[in-house]
Symmetry: D2
Subunit: 303 residues, 4 copies
């Protein structure tokens, strides 16, 4: 398939809506981003990358890195993670605290904030330095040794971190967080503050299209574990819009409030799209539209 032509076609098709939606506003560093950016990249399973627009410009990955943290925990610590965090969609438009309470401190899935805190806590326990471990991994998989944290974003997240502190203490009260809460929050906020481009992310996520194999062909995950992550992306990867994303796009995907979305066509390729304007559920308006066009043009949905 001629991915480059597809990308250029998509860029033309979504051009009228680039700039729609509103950038995340809860921290200044994100609110200041120009909403008219648009970039998209595809990495095929052989590592060839195609791109259009701002596909090489770094942006704040935010929740997208939760996919990689999850992969590292499964690779290092195995399936026992699933005793500490569920795999079901959260289905709660309000907030995860309610659900957490009913389920005795076990988050519904690894992509809601509570779940991601548990996964990060576990990576911290397994490695002693969760955020550095993650950054090293992303540098290797993307082939980009310059990837770095944005300290301004990390500090800004920390300054607005009361809700995550509440979640962490709450789960600690059930014994489901074991590192000291301030340490955990530091690593959590740093991993949200990694800057990457569409090209970097499409490359870094390739192990999900390659049934668990890393860029150097060593095995990160078993075939079954790679499938598990794709499944949890499809059912839980786009906040409270997972059903609609499956409906419109039909691919495993993970979005971030920085405006990026990573998606996977198992066995074929990985995609990353970026445009900062968000819809009311926190997903990139143009990003979802571009992925919708992709599956329509190529027929490459999983359904």
């Amino acid at each position: 398939m001629d991915y480059q032509s597809v990308l250029e076609r998509i860029a033309r098709d979504v051009a009228p809506q680039v700039g729609s939606g509103r950038p995340a506003e809860y921290i200044p560093a994100l609110a200041a981003v120009d909403p008219r950016h648009f970039g998209m990249a595809i990495a095929d399973v052989d590592g060839k990358v195609y791109g259009v627009g701002d596909w090489q410009r770094p942006f704040s990955t935010q929740s997208i890195t939760k996919v990689f943290t999850l992969a590292l925990v499964l690779a290092t610590g195995g399936d026992s993670l699933w005793e500490q965090v569920g795999r079901e969609p959260s289905g709660n438009p309000f907030n995860s605290l309610v659900q957490l309470e009913y389920e005795n401190g076990i988050p519904r899935n690894p992509f809601i904030n509570a779940g991601a805190l548990v996964v990060t806590d576990r990576l911290q326990t397994l490695t002693g330095d969760a955020s550095s471990e993650l950054l090293d991994f992303l540098r290797q998989e993307s082939g980009n040794p310059d990837l770095a944290f944005d300290p301004e974003v990390a500090e800004s997240e920390s300054a607005h971190g009361d809700r995550n502190a509440a979640l962490a203490h709450f789960m600690a009260s059930y014994g489901n967080i074991t590192n000291p809460v301030p340490t955990l929050l530091d690593h959590y906020f740093w991993q949200c503050a990694i800057e990457m481009s569409c090209a970097d992310l499409a490359l870094a996520a390739r192990f999900l299209a390659r049934h668990g194999l890393r860029a150097d062909d060593s095995r990160l995950l078993t075939r079954s574990e790679a499938k598990q992550i794709n499944a949890v992306m499809l059912t839980c990867g786009t906040y409270d819009a997972a059903g609609e994303f499956a409906h419109r796009v039909g691919l495993p995907g993970k979005s971030g409030v920085g405006g990026g979305i990573v998606a996977v066509v198992p066995g074929r390729c990985t995609l990353c799209v970026w445009s900062p304007g968000l819809d009311e559920r926190g997903n990139s308006v143009t990003g979802v539209a571009a992925l919708d066009r992709f599956t329509t043009l190529t027929g490459l949905s999983v359904f």
Copy 2:
């Protein structure tokens, strides 16, 4: 692929756990079924059927028919259905009433009871006889003119119908049910009481693997609508275990408390498995295990 050999291999592999779990007990007609039944069928896109065990023995379809009612409403009334019912997983281990209240009478998805009531209400409005319309459709697609309702099951459901009556009246108070509640409940209970075999169901569901084409090659749904139903099956088709089902099986599926599960491999085939013993979330223990074996043996997961 040699589906017959695969089925025989699966039957051997799951034999030790046939009889596990407990049949649904809330109505006598279901509780009385012998839990040691096991049957499985595959229908390929050309209409050839393969089977093993009790694959030709009729059982109570229960919630499985919700897939077909949904398809008929989309085919007849189009996308406006999605203004009356959502497409997001319910994520609520307790009960749908709570969620319904927070969302002003709009059910989260068409497969929870509240959502299925809305879909049935709409089919009743569109056709004037929802349950007969459904039965006719299933007879045509399965090629089995003897399909019928089990009146004992329908009456038993009706006698235990207070919770569904509560849901229907509750949504009526929001204006989201338009037929008289007793009429609606009749059609709802009748459609749950249709008896079909694994072979019948695998054949009847083929339009989902054939991107919307019926058995006679006429078009029931657009390609996009067929994809939509597969997406909602994957994210919402197995009660509060959709995440785990996606994780283990990785196929769109819809289960019923009669012990049946229908699953779809888009572009390839449809499957139906039946074994009455249920797990604590209402899905057939052996049925899920058999589908898990299927995707492991064939690699035919969507992920």
Copy 3:
């Protein structure tokens, strides 16, 4: 104490705010009432009645009659009622369905709709004709043989009764409603549709100030049962504003969406105030203000 002077003083003090708030709008018969009505009556324990304004004009009692139905059930059936309904405030600004679900069909208290349905169901079982029994009792206690149901209100309630039907079916699914739901709803709606004046209600409620003695000095309730009803009125009698009512007024009280409020000074007197304009929590704006003035002027709060 010179109750007549107190009433006249209150009427002058609240005059500027008579007409504030909005009459209940969910049924036409209530919405059509002129919000500028204001009446207030006091009945002392000897049966002498004092009044001001529209104190002899009948209005729709609505939820106020729940106090009397509760008293009749305790008098006839005794304490076993408390196994079917709780005595705790509901504390839920949204709706009672959520709470009902968490507590397996046992309503939190007898004054939320769910609880009043259980109490009415019980009275129906105990007497065979709940609404007639109630009307007879009210006629005797008020000494007014002309008290009657307003059929227009009852039919209007019934036409908007889906939410109450939902509650009743929901509790029936837990076995906590035993009469047929349509029969129960009829009696429930009729008892809400009784018309009474402030004078009638103040007289009818005197058994609560007289530690259980009826107008004819026969015993309706034990001293302890009378105290129980006053306690539940104080903690649960004014919808989600019971805390604020206790705070401002400091008397057991029960309000109705017709704009009436009955209050009790144990050992001394009963009061009834009526003014149709409601606040956002369903209590009469001027009614609460008038009772607030009463306790301030007389010092007759329970605290």
Copy 4:
């Protein structure tokens, strides 16, 4: 009234059930207390104290001190507190986090943990040293200069403080907590760790029976503010059993998990009872029974 005889009669009547229930177990210092203690004291409005059993033995006041912190905040900062915390019963058998979320960080009332954290935060802002201010006040009102914190209890609370930390951070995320969370928690845990006897507490609470006047006859609260505190004690003072406490006892009361309960007969006297065995809702089994006997024997209920 001969309070001493009444107390001796109560002590005899409840003797068979002293030792029932279980001491609080979440911190070792409370779990170690012998459940067979029982003491009760009455202070009349003139400051005369009567007692029986272990009425002079100090115990851990726990949540009882929330009454005094609330009084100090109203006395110092006035009514604006009610913009930060509600006055309605919580009505939630599960936990206050859920409710807090639905109500945007405004706790339902000042006696649930979330509400008490807000009140303490406010006292800290108003005085700069909340726990010392409280201790000074209690020493003056009880006339006992030896009252002190139990450091073992305070440290133990702190070591099990994740849930309170979660609540505080959660409300901070809504801007409803202004001091640093660790500082707030210190003051909160210290005030729970004050040791007092029944005599001390009955004396210290006298301002509630004296319409706001302190022991030295100076005014702490207006008559209306004193009434407000009594109202909130009656509707919210005994966890999720406020309705039942009103029903059985019929007095404003506040319990603590140390096994103490303070109650008020407005205009007459204050009571304090202590016995460490708790029921499943956290109130002293024998304490409630003793207060029930008191109102039955004396007729001094507010209803």
